[in-house]
Amino acid sequence: MNEALTSQNNLASPVWGILAEFSEASELLDGVTRLRERGYTSLEAYTPFPVEGLSERLQFPRSPMPWIVLAGGVIGGCSVYALEYWINLDVYPLNIGGRPLHSWPAFIPATFEGTVLFASLFAILGFILVCGLPRLHHPIFEIEAFKRASTNRFFLVIKSEDPCFEELSLRDSLRELGACGMWEVPHV
């Protein structure tokens, strides 16, 4: 079956990537480090729980989530305060016991709740967005053994879009790194 894969033209590659299975998190971490050293860039790992140091070794850019949450908080806090100001000073001024119309300390609780609400909504929606979810169909789901990624197996994918992608040598190096299973992941 490997004859079909000798093509060096990555765009025409019939596979989406090579999936390798490891039984230990430490083996996966070592494997990622070694493959990065050899110049592979299109790597992705799949683990049943967040493994310490994995995203650093894969050299992912930092998560933009803190900025998204900050933006949500600022937008939420400012808009709720502005809403209160507009309502109580402009459209519906009420004289409550002669208190000033702009009684700002009384506006703080709702402002705080608005900050938290918008920051949380931005957090969840931003998280779903930056993860590229919802995506119910993905090439990796074609591999039956991949189901173990949510229980006790650690997987590594080298995508065929990687400029260093060359299946035969890759299979050798993955075996050398201790992979206990390997699959070709087809395009879907």
Binding site: A25, Y46, S55, V69, I87, V116, S120, A123, I128, N152
Partner: protein, 458 residues
């Protein structure tokens, strides 16, 4: 010591990623369903019908079916609202504050404690709505452009409460769902039938356990915890402002916010124990929800109970120290008035009985702990009754004084909310993983690493 080597006690020594995952997932996948679950569900459905009856009659007849009067306009509805929402706070405390404090023992209790929060807030939310008298106009509370040109009044604590409780319900749901996503993917991958797998898969949004997803997940989860922490404190503070901003003599006190929050934690942890003890017995989860977990929760409960007791003491001593007749009469009335039995009942339940938790033997006897937790739940309900209804029944004008007697509809509505709580809690146990599998796997991994390091250094 407890922070350095807690793992050995929190997961069994021979646990593997597979064994802990299977143990939790099997609660859902196992057939047939336990008899205890079916009995509980039938009871829940019965209580749910009690709730529907109580609500139906209330909507038909109006709030006159309750025992409220003038001056006691705030009766069971508000007492139950504060009680339920306080229970919810323990879930957020366990999932958010203990996460930020790196308390690993939160791991196997956070999921169902968060579910408890959601259902308790749902129960709580019913009461202020039906207490409105015209519940069909509840949406007038929200600032929206109306043809009446009327807008809410943001200087009122009741308005703050609307924002606080609705935000709390939303954020608790989001936080809970975020934590569920990886576990829903696990359920998807373990499901035997295609339909079940697709249903879980739909809610898992196509989660792939990829390193990139985990990176975003962890950042988002910690940030949501950091947002939920001040939120949970703000919610019960706002609830206490409903009272302390008012001019009712017994309410107008700055001690309210801290001791309301303390009371919420106290009562909430008691409720977590009331749920956790039968849960681990029925489903045989003693190696995931260990004695160590129960012990820690009992200690938190003891600390919160002491905070609450301190609050009672300060409240009483301030009333005496102010030397102001209306304020000191509150305590004359509490100690010896017509409701004094309720006041002393709360002192026994909230201040005296929890002192047993100083002794390890009471913390380790689960049946005993269960009993103490129940007593605390009752005590905290009595506390809210004393603070709310008792403070109103003898106000500034003796000509206004009246007694408050709850009617059967007050009781049935209160009882009925247990129907929501029980039914939804049991449905949750049936369809969702009650323990965070992904976090327990992480804990197993850490304990294996520690063992390996210990073996290497030897």
């Amino acid at each position: 010591m407890t922070t350095n080597a807690p793992n050995t006690q929190l997961v069994p020594a021979d646990a593997t990623h597979e064994s802990v995952t299977a143990q939790v997932a099997d609660i859902v996948f196992k057939r047939p369903v336990e008899k205890g679950w079916i009995v509980g569900f039938l009871v829940g459905l019965f209580l749910l019908n009690v709730l529907l009856t109580a609500l139906g009659w209330l909507f038909f007849y109006g709030v006159g079916v309750w025992g409220i009067n003038i001056p006691v306009g705030w009766g069971f509805a508000i007492v139950n609202f504060v009680w339920w929402i306080g229970i919810g706070h323990a879930g957020t405390l366990i999932s958010a504050i203990l996460l930020l404090l790196h308390q690993e023992w939160r791991t196997s209790i956070n999921r169902f404690a968060e579910a408890m929060t959601l259902f308790a807030v749902a129960c709580a939310g019913i009461f202020p709505l039906v207490h409105l008298g015209r519940p069909q106009f509840f949406y007038w509370l929200f600032p929206y452009p109306a043809t009446t040109n009327m807008w809410p009044q943001f200087r009122s604590p009741l308005m703050w409460d609307v924002f606080a409780v609705s935000t709390y319900a939303t954020v608790s749901l989001l936080f809970w769902y975020l934590g569920l996503i990886p576990d829903l993917a696990t359920m998807r991958d373990r499901a035997k039938s295609r339909l079940v797998a697709r249903t879980y898969g739909l809610f898992a949004l196509g989660w792939r356990n990829s390193a990139r997803h985990w990176m975003h997940y962890k950042t988002t989860y910690v940030m949501l915890a950091a947002l939920a922490t001040p939120l949970v404190v703000s919610v019960h503070t706002t609830v206490s402002w409903d009272f302390s901003v008012g001019i009712v003599s017994a309410w107008h006190s700055t001690v309210f916010p801290p001791y309301f929050v303390g009371g919420a934690i106290f009562c909430g942890f008691a409720m977590v124990l009331v749920l956790a003890i039968p849960l681990r017995r029925i489903y045989g989860l003693k190696d995931l929800i260990t004695d160590k977990h129960l012990d820690n929760m009992a200690k938190v409960m003891l600390a919160a109970g002491m905070t609450v007791s301190y609050g009672y003491l300060m409240d009483a001593s301030m009333a005496w120290y102010k030397n102001e007749p209306y304020d000191s009469y509150i305590y004359t009335n509490r100690f010896g008035g017509p409701y004094s039995a309720i006041y002393w009942g709360l002192i026994v339940c909230n201040c005296i009985v929890p002192q047993l938790l100083w002794f390890p033997c009471f913390r380790r006897q689960t049946l005993c702990l269960f009993g103490i937790a129940l007593v605390i739940n009752v005590g905290m309900w009595l506390e809210r009754f004393v603070i709310i209804s008792l403070s109103l029944h003898r106000d500034y004008l003796p000509s206004d004084w009246a007694m408050y007697y709850p009617t059967v509809w007050d009781w049935l509505l209160y009882l009925g909310t247990f129907g929501i709580f029980l039914t939804f809690m049991l449905l949750f146990l049936r369809v969702l993983p009650a323990i965070s599998m992904m976090e327990v796997r992480e804990l197993v991994h850490e304990s294996q690493e520690q063992k390996r390091e210990a073996a290497n250094s030897r």
